[in-house]
Every structure is written in structure tokens, then in C-alpha cells.
């Protein structure tokens, strides 16, 4: 019962103090810097995703928090206490491993009971808590099975049950869905999110799958080369990427090389010249004023779904909602090189002047798909054309 009280008190008690805080955390393996002085404050009860390509340092961060590796420098605070010197078995976190790491010589039930037994929880309590945990992941009937007799998805649930049965303040998940097929992965994403909300446990989740990160996270820390490239909500990262790398990593995007020319026609807009000579007014991320200096070489990111393709000679085309906004429109002229059918949309590849090219998502229901070779104009609302750092 004390544990329960503790858990429910957790998110409230630690409301303003981060539950986990990393300060200047650095990890070197020989000459390789895996983690370069990152700082990060995890809020109690949130679902935080460490997203990044392999080698970006996301798993290293998780392993340092769990205590499997020792940091070269920096601090790891949990509830304000530095835990760097504590071995894993003394830290108030639990881990769901990438390949599940279920003990092959124990039944599902014994796997789940392991942590409780190690903490010498009373046998009767172990029985009920294990049963509850298995029920929670809908595996109540499979307690006597050996892990190898279960499917991948079931093993994944056992791994989850084994961790949450301990009622940790923070749950660390290392690509827990990586080994599952796409359909199961999608189902488990929702399931995990539901569990996280229901239990109120803080999740620190590692994945390389940006779609997964967008679906589940309250906040995402996009990592690159041992640093945090951008930290923010999924919308922040998708709509207001700070850099070209972020824009490219999260979702699909079109990147156009650009040079800052001056301020734009409306507040919040900035005028740039893109390759090929066109001048555009694009949105400037609020925290990137440094980009605004004239002559700065940078990039413009426009999502394919933000673009509309209009055949040349039909100036009205399809009116876009953006067209009515005061910011006006970004308009680029080009030639269609290919139109690739993709179910609900058609991906229209357009070659622009100066070797640049973009892909626009065209909805065939609204207008006929332009044929390859035809001259078109590609339009997007100015506030969806983002200036991003190199």
C-alpha cells in the first residue's frame, strides 16, 4: 500500500521539480564521444521520447539513467538526488529491454515476480501483484508458460509487466517495439500510451522511429551525434523544426537552399532567395532570430502535404486556406517529372529552376493530377514554409 501511496503522490509532489534531471551528462568510449554534455529535465508523469538515428546517443543516455554504464562526466539527478554512484539495482527505475531480456529459465510468472522477490516483498503480495500485472497486459492466462513459448508481442507484454509490477517512478523503454511487425507495433503504441496514462508512470522511451515518437510522446528529444538537436512537443518538432536535420528526420519534407534577403511583407515573415532566383516570404521560427541576418545561407522546409500543385494557366487553381491569410503564399514554378500513386494521395515530383526539386502531395479528388512534363506552380501558405538552420 505504501508503494501505491508513493506512486500517486509522485506526480503531484514532484510537480515543479523534474523527476529525472541530466546535467552535462557525457559518455566517452575511448576516443568516441557517445554523449556530449547533454542536459535534460524530465517532468514527472510525462512521456518523453529520445529519438534519433543509431549512434546518436539515445540508448547510451537510457543506459546511463538505468545505471548499466557509468558516465564519464555529469550528473543524473532523480528527485534531486545524484544517483551516479548507485548501481542499477538501487535505482528507482525499471527497464523494458529491446529484445525483452526475459529470463529463459523461468516461467512468465517467475519473470514478473523476479523484481518483487529480489526486494523481498511478502509472498502473498507477490502473487496478487504479479496476477494484477499480468492482467493489466492481458496475459493473465499465460503465467505458467515459458517465455520461448510466447509470440513476440506476448513476450513484449511480459517484459512490460515485469517492469511495471515494481511500480517504478520512471520506466525506461529501449526500442521496446522494434522487434514487432508494423501492425502489432501500431496496436502496442496505443496500448503503451494507454498504460502510461492509466498508471501515471513517467516514461523515457528510446526509438529511432519518428512516427512512433510523434504518436506517443508528450515531448521528444531528437538526438544527433551525442547532443540534443531539439527538445519539444511533437507539434513543435514537426511544425517548427529548428534545423534542417530535424525537419528532414521528422516526417517527409522538401528542403530548399536559401539565402536571407531581408524582412518579409508581414511581421513574423522573412524574405529569402531560393536557388533558382525566386524570392519568397517564409515563416521564421520564433527562437531563431539569429537566422534573420541578411546574407545568411540557410534552408527552407516545406512539408509535401502543405503544398498544392496547380497547372500553369489556371491562376486560381484550388484555393488554399493559406491563400487567405495575411502572410500570403509561397509560389514556385516548375515542371512535373513524375506522379507516383500512393493510395489516398498522389506524390507529384516537380523540378524547379536551379536543380532543385520538390514533392507535393496532391489529392486527386480535388483536381486532376498534372501529367509528367506539364508546367505547374507549387504553392504553400507562407506560415507553413519554415526557415530552418543548416
Amino acid at each position: 500500500m505504501t508503494d501505491d501511496a508513493d506512486r500517486s503522490a509522485g506526480p503531484l509532489a514532484g510537480h515543479d521539480r523534474p523527476i529525472v534531471e541530466l546535467r552535462g551528462l557525457t559518455k566517452r568510449f575511448g576516443a568516441v564521444v557517445a554523449l556530449d554534455a547533454i542536459s535534460l529535465a524530465v517532468r514527472a508523469g510525462e512521456f518523453l521520447t529520445l529519438l534519433g538515428a543509431s549512434g546518436s546517443g539515445k540508448t547510451t543516455t537510457l543506459r546511463l539513467i538505468a545505471g548499466f554504464d557509468v558516465a564519464t562526466a555529469g550528473q543524473i539527478l532523480m528527485d534531486g538526488v545524484d544517483v551516479a554512484a548507485l548501481p542499477p539495482f538501487k535505482r528507482p527505475v525499471n527497464t523494458v529491454f529491446q529484445q525483452y531480456a526475459l529470463f529463459p529459465h523461468m516461467s512468465v510468472r517467475d519473470n514478473v515476480a523476479y523484481g518483487l522477490r529480489m526486494r523481498r516483498v511478502r509472498a502473498a503480495d507477490v502473487t496478487t501483484r504479479v496476477a494484477d500485472a499480468l492482467d493489466l497486459v492481458q496475459l493473465g492466462a499465460l503465467g505458467d508458460r515459458a517465455p520461448r513459448q510466447l509470440s513476440g508481442g506476448q513476450q513484449q507484454r511480459v517484459a512490460l509487466a515485469r517492469a511495471i509490477v515494481n511500480r517504478p517512478r520512471v520506466l525506461l523503454l529501449d526500442e521496446p517495439l522494434g522487434a514487432l511487425d508494423l501492425k502489432l507495433r501500431r496496436a502496442m503504441q496505443l496500448e503503451l500510451k494507454r498504460l502510461q496514462t492509466q498508471l501515471g508512470i513517467t516514461f523515457i522511451y528510446v526509438t529511432h522511429d519518428q512516427e512512433e515518437a510523434l504518436t506517443m510522446s508528450d515531448r521528444i528529444a531528437l538526438m544527433r551525434n551525442g547532443r540534443i538537436e531539439q527538445l519539444g512537443s511533437p507539434t513543435d518538432l514537426y511544425d517548427r523544426p529548428r534545423s534542417r536535420y530535424v525537419a528532414d528526420f521528422i516526417g517527409e519534407t522538401n528542403l530548399l537552399r536559401a539565402v536571407v534577403a531581408g524582412t518579409g511583407a508581414a511581421p513574423g515573415l522573412i524574405r529569402v532567395e531560393v536557388a533558382g532566383g525566386a524570392t519568397l516570404d517564409v515563416a521564421m521560427p520564433h527562437d531563431a532570430a539569429w537566422l534573420a541576418r541578411a546574407g545568411t545561407e540557410t534552408w527552407v522546409s516545406i512539408r509535401p502535404e502543405a503544398m498544392t500543385v496547380c497547372a500553369d494557366g489556371h491562376p486560381t487553381g484550388t484555393p488554399t486556406p493559406g491563400g487567405a491569410r495575411p502572410g500570403g503564399q509561397v509560389v514556385l514554378a516548375g515542371t512535373v517529372t513524375a506522379a507516383v500513386y500512393a493510395g489516398s494521395i498522389v506524390k507529384v515530383h516537380v523540378a524547379l529552376a536551379g536543380d532543385a526539386s520538390v514533392v507535393a502531395h496532391h489529392t486527386p479528388a480535388t483536381a486532376p493530377t498534372p501529367a509528367p512534363g506539364s508546367a505547374v506552380r507549387v504553392m504553400a501558405s507562407a506560415d507553413r514554409a519554415m526557415l530552418v538552420g543548416a
Partner: protein, 268 residues
């Protein structure tokens, strides 16, 4: 942090180091005493002579024994490969009644004490009337050659079979798809794939044959092999010459294992 002194880890390392010493100290002793400058092997050690190597170089019987051992080892390799490689293929690819029994039979000499294989073969050759000295002086004797072949074929079978199990059969199918007949597929795809295992097994058989005593003991005719010659010396008492020959063997063993590890490294 955790780099501080940790008694458990220290104890483990100490134990490991002690076991290493236990394994290597006796070998070092032999090497050191091979340059011990006295006819009696006693403490303290007096280092600094090569005379026992000189005695060794002039020991006719020892040299004859070494030559016999080499011949025997080469023949053992030829036989073991000739039987073992097809044997491994049979186990990997063919189904026939009694296959499991065949496999167990072939592997039996690996697992049984050598003396049992030795006395069985002795009984067999005596039963069929094959003289232990037949074939001498060209070879040390047919029974001992066949005996080594029989005992060591299993080494080739296990090594090559294990390799074949890991061999990607899709490569052979690709080869067949690309117009190679079975014969050319075997030579150009399968054999190169298992070559390291075959070479490694050959080296292993060679080394084991050179060192074999249990089977040899019962099957040898007039000509001693090197281990039996040394054994004879040891039975008469310790002579420093034994240290010299032991050191030479030790050096050659090291050379073989370096060769072997090179081969295995190229495998992947």
C-alpha cells in the same frame, strides 16, 4: 564513481590469474629445465646450456621416432579428410535408415577414453590377422595408421558438419540458378565455403595424431612414435634430454595454434 576498489572483482581477477599460473607454471618449468646445466634435474636451477638440444640432435632413435610420427600424422590427415569430409556431407544432406546410429558411431572415439578404442582396435586387427608391423619400414604399420584414421575421423566430421550446418544453402541454389551444374557448384561455391573448416580440421588431426598415445600404445609395431619414445625415456627416469624435446614440441605446438587461429580468423 564505480572505478573504486571492488573486492569481489579483485578476488575474481586474482583467482583467474592463479588458475593461469597453475596452467602455465608447469610448462615454464619444462622449458627452463631444458637449458638446465646439470645431468640431474634438481633444485636450484642452473640456467644456460644448450647441450641437451645437442644430445637430442644426435639421438638416432628419437629422430627415427619423430620421422615415424610425422609420417603417421600425414597419413592420419589424409585418411581422416578422405572419410570425414564425405561423412560430414552424408550427415548434413542425406537421409538414410541408421543415419543417427552412424553419427553416434563416428563420434564415439571423441567421447570414449582412448584406451577403449585402442584395445578394441587391437582386438580387431589381431582377429583379422593384420600384423602390427605390416607396412614397416615404409610406414610405422598399417594398424596404427588405420587406428589413427578411425579415431580422428570424428574430428573432421564434427568440424566440417558444423560448418555445413551454418552454410547458406541459398548460395548453392543461386549457383544452380546461374547455370552451374552440381559438380561446378560444389567446386566453386560449396568447397570454398567449407575450406577453412577443412583446413582447421586437418591441422587439428595432424596435431592430435602427433600427440596420440592411448591408441598408438596398443597398435604400434616395431617403430616407436615420438610420444612413445619419450614415454620410454620417462619410464627409465628423467633425463634432461626429455626437457629439450618437450620444449621443441611446445614451440611447434605454439606455431600450430598461431597458424590455426590465422586460418579461423580468415573464416569470417
Amino acid at each position: 564513481m564505480r572505478a573504486r576498489f571492488d573486492p569481489l572483482t579483485a578476488a575474481l581477477w586474482t583467482a583467474a590469474a592463479a588458475v593461469f599460473c597453475f596452467i602455465y607454471a608447469p610448462l615454464a618449468v619444462v622449458v627452463l629445465y631444458s637449458v638446465h646445466d646439470a645431468a640431474i634435474i634438481a633444485w636450484p636451477l642452473r640456467l644456460g646450456t644448450l647441450r641437451w638440444y645437442g644430445v637430442l640432435a644426435h639421438d638416432r632413435a628419437m629422430i627415427d621416432a619423430a620421422v615415424a610420427s610425422l609420417k603417421l600424422a600425414v597419413l592420419a590427415v589424409v585418411i581422416a579428410l578422405g572419410v570425414g569430409v564425405p561423412g560430414a556431407f552424408v550427415l548434413d544432406r542425406f537421409d538414410f535408415p541408421g543415419k543417427a546410429a552412424f553419427r553416434r558411431l563416428v563420434l564415439l572415439p571423441l567421447i570414449l577414453p582412448g584406451i577403449i578404442t585402442g584395445v578394441s582396435l587391437l582386438s580387431f586387427f589381431s582377429f583379422v590377422g593384420l600384423s602390427l608391423s605390416s607396412g614397416f619400414p615404409l610406414i610405422p604399420g598399417w594398424p596404427v595408421v588405420l587406428g589413427h584414421g578411425a579415431a580422428l575421423t570424428s574430428v573432421v566430421v564434427t568440424q566440417v558438419f558444423a560448418r555445413l550446418q551454418r552454410f547458406d544453402r541459398a548460395l548453392e541454389e543461386a549457383s544452380a540458378d546461374l547455370y552451374a551444374n552440381e559438380w561446378r557448384t560444389f567446386w566453386r561455391v560449396t568447397l570454398p565455403g567449407i575450406r577453412p573448416a577443412v583446413l582447421g580440421a586437418a591441422l587439428l588431426v595432424f596435431t592430435l595424431s602427433l600427440d596420440e598415445i592411448a591408441v598408438t600404445f596398443f597398435l604400434i609395431g616395431r617403430q616407436n612414435t615420438l610420444p612413445l619414445q619419450i614415454w620410454g625415456l620417462l619410464r627409465r627416469g628423467i633425463t634432461p634430454e626429455v626437457n629439450a624435446v618437450a620444449t621443441v614440441i611446445f614451440a611447434l605446438s605454439l606455431l600450430t595454434i598461431v597458424l590455426w587461429s590465422r586460418m579461423m580468423r580468415d573464416e569470417i
